[in-house]
Symmetry: C2
Subunit: 410 residues, 2 copies
C-alpha cells in the first residue's frame, strides 16, 4: 500500500488512490483532457463528476473553446460515455488489491515516493504510476539518465549501451529505459552490473511481460530496481502507448542518451520529449556507414544533442557541478530526514571504514536482502554510501568523516 | 616556366622567382623572420641584403624587440650566417632549370596561378610553391576541401575517406591532402575517381616520393591534379616540415575534414590551423570504441568541428549559399576572362548537349590530353562544364543554356 500523503489522513489518501486507479482505467495514458479535469477538480471530485455524468460547465466551456481553436470537435457527453463505458468493465479496488498481492503498488502525486520532476509534464503528467520492485522510485530517478535506442540494435550499439549503463550505475547514476529488446535491454543489463537501481518504464501493465523474452531481465530489475507503468495491471502495449510512455523516460531522468537510432526511430521521440522538457540530451556517435547511427548524428549535427562517447561525458552533461563535487567529497545530495525508515535502518548498518556485504548489512539492519540492496542503491545514488571491494561503506567527506546521526536533523 | 606577374616584365618576374627560389633554400619553410623580411623589403632586395650580410637596421631592431618580448634571443649575424651557409651549398638557377626539366614549376605570389587565399597566412605564407602536375593550382583550390586523418587508419576510415573524396570530386570540389599513407592516400584515390583535380601538399620536395609506396599514386595525381611543396627539389621530409606543411592544406582549402584522428594525431594540427585561419572544420564520427575516432569526437564535442557524415554535408559546410545555387543552375563561379588561354580553348571544344570524351575534346581544342583533362577539372570546379555518361558537356542554366561566348566579357 502507498504511504500516506503529507497533510492527509490514511483514508483520504486511499480515496485519492482509488479515484486515480479508476481514472487510469477510464482514459488512455497521457489524456490531456483528463489531465486538465483532474488539475481543475482534483482526482476524487473528477471521478465523482464523471460517474454522475456532470462535468463542471465552465470546464466544458473551456474545452469547447480550446477545441474550436484547434479546429477539432469536443462532445462532452460522448467523452463521458467513452470514459464511463470503460469504467463499467473495470474495478479500481480489485486493481489495487491484485496489484498489491503481486508485489506491486500504486504511487500517486503527493506520495513520498512520487518523483516531483513529473510536474514538468503539466497536464500530461501521469495520474499515477504502478510500480513493481523493491527500489524507491523517487530516489532511483533523482540522479538518473535515460538510455534509449533502437530495438534492432547492432552489436556495436548493444555493446556501447551495456558499457555506458554499467559505468553510470557504478558511478551512482540510475539508468531509466523502456525494457525493449536492443538498446533498452542492453542498458538495463549494464545497469544491473552496477550498484544503482535501474528503472524500466513499460508501455503495458507493470505485471505484463512485454517483450516476452525479457522475463528474466524484468525479474532481475524487480529485485534491485523498478518496473514502472502508468497502465493499469494487465493492459497490453499499443503503438500509441509506446509514444506516450516515452515522455515518462524523458521526464523521470535528468537527461537522455540516445545510443543508436535510425532516422525514424522511436528513440528520437524520447529525445524530442527530453528537449521539450529542457532535459539534457546526449547522442552516441557511430560509424557513418550504419543506418542505426544516422539519427544520433543528425541530433549532433543539429546541435540538439551533445556528442557523448563515455559514461563520464554523460555524467558531465547531466551532473550539477556543485552537486557532483559534493558527492565526490562524500556529501549527500538528499537530506537525511527524507530517507524512508527502512533506508535509515540500512544506512545505520553500513560500516564507516571497512566495507560490509549486503547480507551482513541486511542482518544488522533487520531488513530482508532485497530491501537492503535497493536501499544501498538509493543511498549510493544519494551520495551516502560507496562501493568498495569488501562491499559497502559510508562515503567520506574530504576532511571529516560523514556521520549519519550528525545530519539526522529531521 | 611561371607565367608573367601582372604589371611586371618577364625579366623582373624571373628575378623575383630566382630570389624566392634562393630564399627557399636558405630558410626552413614557414620561417616567420624571413617572412617579415620579405614582406618589408620584397624578395629581391631581401635576397641581396642577406648575401651582403646587411639587414636593414630598423628590421633588426624590430626583431630584437620582438625577441625580447617573447623571451628569446635574436642574433642577426648568426641568423644571416645560417642562411648564407645554406645558400653556399645551393643554386636557385639550377633548382629552376632542373625543376622545369622534371615537369615542375615554381609559382610565386603575383603569378596568375598563385592561390591568393594563402595571404591569410600573413608572414607565414610560403615564399613560393613548387608544383608538379598539369592542373592549375588556383583553380584546383578555388572550391576545395582538405581531407586529412591518421596514417594508421582503420578500414572504416579509409573506406569513408575514399567515398567522401570521390563524392566531393564528382560534385566539382577539389580534394587537398598530404599524400601520406592511410586517410590521405585514400582521399586522393577517391578524388581521382571523380572529375576534379586533387592536390597533394608534401612535406618534402615535390620531386621526392615520400612515402615511397605512393609512387603510382603520385604519378596519377600529377597526371590530372597537382603535387605541391614549398620545399625545394630534393629536400627530405622531417617532423617539423610535416607540421609546417599542415598549415598549407588548411589555407589552400575552403574547409578541412578530419576523417580519423587519435587524440594526438597530426591531423588535429591541420584542424587547428583551419580554425586559426577561420576556415570551416568538419569531423567524421566513428565508433566510440575506436581510438582513431577519439580526436574527431573531441572536435565535435568541443563544437570546434561540425559532425559530417557525407560529402553532401561537407559541401553544405564549405559551400557559399548563392554560389552553390549558381553552380546548380550552371552559372560559373569564375569569370570567363580569367581562364587561361588553353582552358578557353578546351571550354570552346566542349559540346553543349551530348557529352564528348576528353580525347575528342583535346583533339578539337588542339591541346594534349593531360592539358584537356586538367582544364576540364578546372572548368568543372568553376561551374562551366559537367560530367555526363558520354563524357563532358557544358553546364546548363535553369532557363537559358550557358553559352561560353556570352560570358566572355573580358
Amino acid at each position: 500500500m502507498p504511504s500516506a500523503a503529507p497533510g492527509g489522513g490514511k483514508s483520504s489518501h486511499r480515496r485519492e488512490a482509488v479515484a486515480r486507479a479508476a481514472l487510469m482505467r477510464m482514459c488512455e495514458a497521457g489524456d490531456q483532457v483528463m489531465g486538465r479535469l483532474v488539475e481543475a477538480q482534483g482526482a476524487v471530485d473528477a471521478f465523482d463528476r464523471i460517474r454522475l455524468h456532470e462535468l463542471p460547465s465552465e470546464f466544458v466551456d473551456e474545452e469547447m473553446a480550446r477545441a474550436r481553436k484547434q479546429r477539432r470537435t469536443f462532445d462532452a457527453a460522448k467523452l463521458i460515455s467513452a470514459w464511463t463505458n470503460r469504467l463499467d468493465s473495470a474495478d479500481p479496488l480489485t486493481d489495487l488489491r491484485i496489484g498489491e498481492e503481486q508485489g506491486g503498488r500504486l504511487v500517486v502525486p503527493g506520495d513520498v515516493e512520487w518523483p516531483t520532476q513529473l510536474d514538468d509534464l503539466e497536464t500530461g503528467q501521469p495520474l499515477g504510476l504502478w510500480l513493481h520492485g523493491s527500489a524507491d522510485l523517487r530516489f532511483s530517478c533523482l540522479r538518473s539518465v535515460g538510455v534509449v535506442g533502437a530495438r534492432a540494435a547492432t552489436p556495436y550499439g548493444t555493446h556501447v549501451a551495456t558499457e555506458i549503463a554499467a559505468g553510470l550505475s557504478s558511478a551512482g547514476w540510475g539508468v531509466v529505459s523502456g525494457g525493449a529488446y536492443g538498446i533498452d535491454g542492453a542498458a538495463h543489463r549494464g545497469a544491473l552490473a552496477g550498484a544503482t537501481p535501474t528503472v524500466a518504464v513499460l508501455a503495458c501493465g507493470a505485471d505484463v511481460c512485454y517483450p516476452s523474452g525479457h522475463q528474466d531481465l524484468f525479474a532481475a530489475i524487480r529485485k534491485s530496481g523498478l518496473i514502472v507503468s502508468e497502465c493499469p495491471p494487465g493492459v497490453r502495449p499499443t503503438r500509441a502507448r509506446f509514444l506516450v510512455r516515452n515522455r515518462l523516460i524523458a521526464a523521470l531522468s535528468r537527461g537522455t542518451l540516445v545510443v543508436e537510432a535510425a532516422l525514424r526511430s522511436g528513440a528520437l521521440n524520447t529525445a524530442a520529449h527530453a528537449l521539450a522538457l529542457k532535459r539534457h540530451l546526449g547522442a552516441v556517435p557511430g560509424p557513418i556507414t550504419s543506418l542505426n547511427s544516422a539519427g544520433c548524428h543528425r541530433l549532433i549535427r543539429d546541435a540538439k544533442a551533445t556528442c557523448v562517447t563515455s559514461c563520464e561525458e554523460m555524467i558531465d552533461l547531466v551532473g550539477v557541478l556543485g552537486e557532483e563535487a559534493a558527492v565526490e567529497q562524500g556529501g549527500p545530495v538528499v537530506p537525511h530526514d527524507v530517507l524512508s525508515p527502512n533506508t535509515r535502518l540500512v544506512l545505520d548498518a553500513v560500516p564507516a571504514r571497512r566495507g560490509a556485504g549486503p547480507a551482513t548489512i541486511a542482518t544488522t539492519a533487520g531488513v530482508d536482502l532485497p530491501t537492503a540492496l535497493s536501499s544501498l542503491g538509493s543511498l549510493a545514488a544519494a551520495g551516502y554510501v560507496e562501493r568498495v571491494p569488501q562491499g559497502w561503506r559510508l562515503r567520506h567527506t574530504r576532511n571529516t568523516r560523514h556521520s549519519p546521526s550528525s545530519s539526522a536533523s529531521g
